[in-house]
């Protein structure tokens, strides 16, 4: 590496024009930016909050309007040992009490009784009367949803595909990127141009012959059409890793070569340790893509025992139309691995997006 000469920093002269009013403008501007960002964040997170909240509600509370953001149960009380009655918040002589709605009367009126003492009755208007609700998180929705359909099996199938293809995608992309970045051979540049041009190719163009091919090979309704292609290096991953390998100084290779390292030895001992953030980026994005892939499983997998979570979730929705809480529980479980991966590997994510965006 060449030594770089440090720039000598000169103390910045404060521009004469920076007056107090500009400073005030800055502060106001910053404040507005924070307000806008806070507002936007609330909007961005709202769908996920709604999903989790709904997954913890009872079915009847899940579709109330206006939306109740905290999962609550409607409180009932059993009177006379048999029937149960809804509890309402009522104001009696300026004192707020929980009263049971005993009977409805015409004109939106109701007869209320005190739960502890049903002899005491009141007649009041039902308009604007609030039911008594208490916080109750229905975590049992989760095991229920997971067992209504064989969801654990779907998770297992998806994991199997994700893990094997991530391994295949990484190893093949590393080898190919190494070949393109560190070796000279006739025609190699042309091959690389072809590789780059395939990034732009819409997958639909190869879709049908691929389907016919896999079907002829007897791979229909197996994981093989979803797994095997991953072992043949995706163009995008190769491009990304090649860029990264090229940024590792070649002098390090040469030093290792003099020490008698083989080409694979150089890859293993010099390049991979340097490029692991790029490898992690490739692995993470591959994981996300495969986990969320719907089209592949949709066309290649038929038997329910081979379904992935994407297929399972889609059929859950079609099957249980009156089970919104279960559906949201299953959706939460499906999204959770991606969200956890993101929160624990945030830096790699951001870095990965930036590398592929800026260098691309």
């Amino acid at each position: 590496m060449m030594a770089t000469i440090q720039e000598i920093s000169v103390p910045q002269a404060v521009p004469a024009k920076k007056t107090g009013s500009i400073k005030a403008q800055r502060i106001v501007g910053k404040f507005m930016a924070i307000m806008l960002l806070t507002f936007g964040s609330a909007l961005v997170l709202m769908p996920l909050v709604w999903m989790v909240s709904t997954s913890l509600k009872t079915e009847e509370e899940s579709t109330t309007f206006p939306i109740e953001w905290v999962p609550k149960d409607v409180q009932k009380v059993t009177l006379g040992g048999t029937r149960s009655y809804f509890l309402y918040w009522m104001s009696v002589n300026g004192e707020t009490k929980q009263l049971a709605l005993f009977k409805k009367r015409p004109g939106n009126m109701g007869i209320f009784v005190e739960p502890d003492n049903p002899e005491i009755q009141y007649t009041a208007s039902l308009i604007g009367a609030q039911r008594v609700k208490t916080l109750n998180l229905h975590f049992e929705n989760y095991p229920k949803a997971m067992t209504q359909v064989p969801f654990l099996l779907y998770l297992q199938n998806t994991m199997l595909i994700v893990v094997t293809t991530t391994f295949g995608a990484l190893i093949s992309a590393v080898l190919v990127a190494y070949g393109f970045s560190r070796f000279r051979a006739p025609g190699l540049n042309i091959f690389f141009l072809i590789l780059l041009s395939t990034i732009m190719l819409p997958s639909q163009v190869t879709l049908i012959p691929q389907f016919v091919l896999f079907q002829r090979m007897g791979w229909y309704d197996t994981f093989l059409p979803l797994i095997v292609p991953a072992f043949f290096a995706s163009a995008w991953n190769v491009f990304l890793l090649r860029q990264f390998f090229m940024s590792v100084p070649i002098e390090m290779d040469e030093a290792a070569k003099i020490d008698g390292a083989s080409p694979l030895g150089i890859l293993w001992h010099i390049l991979i340790p340097q490029a692991w953030p790029a490898l992690a980026t490739v692995a993470i994005f591959h994981f996300l893509w495969t986990w969320n892939d719907f089209f592949g499983p949709l066309i290649y997998i038929q038997s329910q025992s081979n379904w992935t979570v994407a297929l399972g979730l889609q059929s859950f929705r079609a099957l249980y139309t009156r089970n919104l809480t279960g559906l949201m529980a299953a959706s939460t479980v499906t999204m959770l691995p991606c969200l956890l991966l993101f929160f624990f590997a945030q830096k790699l994510f951001i870095q990965g997006v930036v590398i592929s965006g800026i260098k691309g």
Partner: protein, 306 residues
């Protein structure tokens, strides 16, 4: 010794070439088997009637003629996809840039904001589509609840042919954080000295944006535009899960129509022809963007030349 030296050189070069080909072999095999071969086959299929169970029947350009002259769904799905693209891409580009500018205004907690806004980009597919299906519910959905807060009676969204496509555009904006992060990296690469110089010259905030910020991030804008075009034409899961192309075929996107032909109607030949037209449309659009880029995309190198 002197005679032997060049021979050894050659063998080193040859060995290097052999290593190179061995290393890139997985890609070459994959390219031939999963890309080039299928492309040729796909072109052949596009000239046939083929339903996978019986042998393809050659029909010349029959599929293409049918598509252009008889099939209103072809035009409809192409128009729907282009309409979606024309709304979703500019809105996404603009909103992403706006967020990045806000984040770049030296606000405290930048890492936290970045995390929040990027979160929707890590989830996708069926779970997200199902979630939005219910967010758009006219009776109890979050979207109409938000609208009710400002006293607006929300439309039927996915149940209304007039609003269904707009709903999908709206949903696409949830993932705007992905583009935002790329913009942000671009913005942070702009030297602050440029702004300081402009301030000394008395430039206001708009002048600074249009004369410095915007020109300097055009390469990022260009990248986001190209990936936006390619991504938009891949849309499938949302429409399959949320609308199946309805109501009244108002969200029949190109990809869904292609899927229907191939895997519902068993028209593999026709679907292949559709795929080639899609390829041409995407290719032309990308070429137009690439060609036009020399007039609006600014590259660092140009500065040095001047």
């Amino acid at each position: 010794m002197e005679i032997a030296a060049p021979k050894k050189q050659m063998s080193i070069a040859r060995r290097e070439a052999i290593w190179a080909y061995l290393l890139i072999a997985p890609w070459i095999v994959g390219f031939l088997v999963f890309t080039l071969g299928p492309m040729i086959a796909s072109f052949f299929f596009s000239l046939t009637n083929y339903n996978i169970t019986s042998a393809p029947v050659f029909v010349g350009f029959g599929n293409f003629i049918e598509m252009f002259t008889k099939d209103y769904r072809f035009w409809l799905s192409l128009r729907t996809t282009l309409t979606y693209a024309l709304a979703a891409i500019p809105l996404g580009l603009g909103l992403g840039l706006l967020l990045a500018l806000l984040l770049n205004a030296n606000v405290p907690g930048i890492a936290l904001w970045r995390t929040v806004y990027y979160t929707p980009s890590v989830v996708s597919g069926v779970a997200v589509s199902i979630l939005w299906l219910y967010l758009f519910n006219p009776q109890f959905g979050v979207i109409n609840w938000l609208l009710s807060l400002i006293n607006v009676k929300g439309p039927g969204w996915l149940a209304d042919p007039k609003w269904a496509l707009a709903a999908l555009v709206f949903m696409s904006l949830w993932g705007v954080g992905g583009g935002m992060i790329i913009y942000l990296a671009g913005l942070q690469g702009i030297p602050t000295t440029l702004y300081e110089a402009a301030e000394i010259d008395g430039a206001n905030i708009f002048q600074k944006f249009f004369k410095i910020t915007l020109p300097l991030i055009t390469p990022v804008l260009f990248y986001n535009l190209v990936t936006g075009i390619i991504g938009t034409f891949q849309i499938f899961t949302q429409v399959y899960v949320m609308t199946s192309g309805g109501p009244a075929e108002s969200t029949l996107m190109y990809n869904l129509y292609l899927y229907n032909n191939a895997f519902r109607y068993g028209r593999m030949g026709y679907a292949s022809a559709l795929a080639w037209i899609l390829f041409l449309v995407v290719l032309i659009l990308t070429l137009v963007v690439f060609r036009s880029s020399s007039t609006w995309v600014y590259y660092e190198g140009e500065l040095r030349k001047k």
